[in-house]
Amino acid sequence: MRKLPVLMMMIPFLVLGGCGGGEGGGPVEPQPLDTPEAYVGRGWERFEGGDSSGAQADFQAALDLDENHGPALAGYGWAMLVAAPSDISMQSALDSFDAALARGETASYVTAGRAAARLALGQWSGASGDGAAVLQGEPGFIFQHRTSFTGVDLLLVMAFAQAASGDVEQALATANTIQQSGIDPGQSATWTVGGIAYPSYAGAVLAHLALLSENHAG
């Protein structure tokens, strides 16, 4: 049971490591540290500095020392989330969040990360549910390792998931809590976003979501 997730988590690391890629630039050479906590600490430092590849390597090193280390699993999930180029690697991020939660790492940022991963994988109801759960427990949520990711992003997760599942009206209601759109389903004259009139209500709502995504997605 453990072998497959670990292998899955290793795939993107090996690929990226082999390419020498990394947001921080240059090959990543994690320095040997003594404890999982030390690796996790340095991993978050690199994550906050935009070096998701280096962060990923540190979280993996921590997991090599303790495969059940909850904070390392959560950090690995976030590092994978921002870099995943495929459903396979995004699923690895989701598995890592699930594993962290299963090992008692119940901080809001873990569930928030899982909400984003689920949205990216097309798991609409799960994404919306996770976003709502975090906001219910922590309305002023801010991810401490990336302060631009807040409760607004979770509302966007929910609105995008609702739109994708066909509930345009609920998506608009959620989006309106971020920024009022003025769109009225019964008034075609209100189907305007950014000065552009849309021929359908759904088109206007989706344009409004796209605008919020551009302006607020952290």
């Binding site: 921002v82 180029p85 990216a120 992003d153 995008f160 088109g203 989706l206 551009e214």
Partner: protein, 580 residues
């Protein structure tokens, strides 16, 4: 009294020679070929005999009623009223002993034990001149051993029997034992035994007592064992009796079955002529005498009269009942279970209704318009029944139209209304009163449905399916349907497409691409992202489509293009978004 005592004493004096003669007579009988007769003993003689007025009660605390012995599982029908093995106190409170004066009478001893333990009752084992083991009973004996009265009046008693084990040696027909019963405690009738009975079980059928007939049914029955001797020969100890049993055949009373009618149990409203399950739970604690059967009946007048539904049905717990075609407001169902002897009945706790459906028709109107336009379709209901709610699916060609809304109108004003697409080409409409209101019988429009026309143009039927017409009491009214039609004119303009790219929160490399199409072909547009084809799924068939895309980490922007073609021409859209 004095002379009688003297004569008994005189006979007792010759006891030694009499005993020797007794043995001689038995031996002689065997030699002369009477062995067979001895083994089968002589046929008992019916006899009626009263306790003589000159007899005195000499022992015992009776008459008393012996406690019935525990009932045998193996012989459930028989119950013992008296079960005496003479091993306890005698005569105790069970027996009363009567005897002539100055002669021995019934007592117990260990000289012969019958079939059980050590003791038996012997006719001369107590009283004046009582004999010991091997002794000879004296002359002029007259002694009763009486128990009772016993109550045999229970109508469940079907038979009774008095039995014992008897050991007897006496002068034939002169000295004898009488096993008997009485209904007055004085006059006894039964069977007389004499000569030789060698430890045999003997019975007296109390349904055919000599001279008395059946004493089953009598409230007081005594049992009596009497022994008498005349002046002459004495062959041995006389009568010895053991294991006296008075028993009655009282079959275990039947346990009546039970039944609970579960449905209908009141409040239902069932359509006349429809089929519903009558359900019940029946049980029989003693499992008999026969397997349970159930009779079902209904009443249209609150129990005033009953009409059979089914008779002697197996106890399956359910019966599919086809209701009568006439309506009634005060209907009951009755279920009666029988185990072959007893019955039990349960009736619906409350009345229910059988309703005769009226003629109801749900009709969908027609509309026409250009592809891309919104049109309104009238939904009408002609109802003879009172209606509280309507639910219906409308089935149509999903490439040509989509159900987008509903407004309750005309007769339907006041009803809550909802509409949604439940699948491509299938929309569901719901209209209902949430405040206790209802739609009285009538004719005409109840709602206006909104359809968005789309696709290349054509015609599609709007066919109601899975129509539910509910009455105020949750009746399930029957409904006819009338389909409508949508005429979709080919689009007059090229498709209009808009693209919405949603960059997923968290600065992931994932985007969602939504494409909204107006005047489209009715099928998914062709979309590419970053030069690669992007597969789309329908969010709102014919109108909104969506796809997901993961981008390489090196990408700084992505360009999405969409294209759709209708009969007029091809529409295009393109969006470029910057990535973090």
């Amino acid at each position: 009294m004095a002379s009688k005592a003297i004569s008994i004493q005189a006979i007792s004096i010759q006891a030694g020679s009499i005993q020797a003669r007794s043995i001689l007579m038995v031996m002689l009988a065997l030699i002369l070929g009477a062995g067979t007769a001895l083994a089968a003993r002589e046929t008992p003689v019916p006899r009626r005999l009263a306790i003589s007025p000159d007899m005195v009660r000499v022992a015992g605390d009776g008459p008393g009623q012996a406690a019935p012995a525990p009932q045998s599982e193996a012989d459930k029908a028989w119950q013992n009223l008296l079960d005496e093995d003479f091993e306890g106190v005698f005569p105790g409170d069970t027996w009363t002993i009567y005897s002539s004066a100055s002669v021995p009478y019934w007592g117990t001893w260990e000289c012969w034990s019958g079939n059980t333990a050590t003791h038996s009752a012997a006719c001369a084992a107590a009283g004046p001149g009582a004999i010991g083991c091997g002794g000879l009973y004296p002359a002029y004996m007259s002694t009763w051993m009486v128990a009772g009265p016993f109550d045999l009046s229970d109508p469940d008693i079907t038979a009774a029997e008095l039995s014992c084990v008897l050991n007897l040696v006496s002068e034939t027909n002169v000295d004898y034992l009488l096993m008997s019963v009485s209904t007055d405690g004085q006059n006894f009738s039964g069977l007389q035994y004499s000569f030789l009975v060698m430890g045999e079980a003997i019975q007296l059928d109390l349904t055919a007592v000599p001279n008395l007939g059946s004493v089953v049914g009598a409230s007081q029955v005594w049992v009596g064992f009497y022994f008498t001797s005349d002046w002459s020969l004495s062959y041995g100890v006389g009568a010895e009796v053991d294991d006296v049993l008075l028993r009655v055949d009282r079959p275990t009373p039947n346990v009546p079955p039970t039944i609970t009618l579960n449905s209908p149990d009141g409040g239902e409203s069932w359509l006349a002529g429809s089929q519903h399950a009558i359900t019940w739970t029946a049980a029989d604690a003693d499992g008999g005498p026969n397997a349970l059967t159930v009779d079902l009946a209904y009443s249209l007048n609150g129990g005033g009269s009953w009409v059979p539904i089914a008779a002697a049905r197996p106890n399956t717990g359910s019966y599919n009942w086809t209701l009568p075609t006439q309506g009634a407001a005060n209907v009951l169902v009755r279920a009666t279970v029988s185990d072959g002897e007893d019955t039990a009945t349960d009736t619906s706790d409350g009345s229910f209704a059988i309703v005769v459906p009226g003629s109801n028709t749900l009709a969908v109107g027609n509309a026409a318009g250009d592809s891309g336009a919104q049109v309104t379709v009238v939904l009408s209901l002609d109802n003879e029944d009172t209606v509280k709610g309507v639910q219906a699916d409308l089935v149509f060609d999903g490439t040509l139209a989509a159900l987008t809304g509903i407004v309750a109108s005309q007769r339907g004003v006041g009803m809550s209304a909802g509409a949604e697409m439940v699948a491509a080409g299938r929309g569901r409409v719901i209209l209902y009163y949430s405040d206790g209101g209802s739609l009285a019988p009538g004719t005409g429009e109840i709602a206006q449905l909104t359809f968005r026309l789309q696709g290349p143009g054509g015609s599609t039927a709007l066919t109601p399916a899975d129509v539910l017409l509910a009455g105020p009491e949750a009746e399930d009214w029957l409904a006819q349907v009338q389909a409508g039609n949508l005429q979709v004119a080919a689009p007059q303009e090229v498709p209009s497409l808009s693209i919405a790219v949603l960059k997923n929160p968290g600065r992931t490399r994932t985007i969602q691409v939504f494409v909204t199409v107006t005047n489209g072909s009715g099928t998914a547009p062709t979309v590419s992202a970053g030069g690669n084809a992007l597969a789309l799924s329908a969010v709102d068939a014919g109108h909104v489509y969506m796809g997901r895309l993961h981008l390489a980490g090196s990408a700084t922007s992505v360009t999405v293009t969409a294209q759709d073609t209708n009969a007029v021409g091809t529409g295009n859209a393109q969006v470029t978004v910057q990535l973090p």
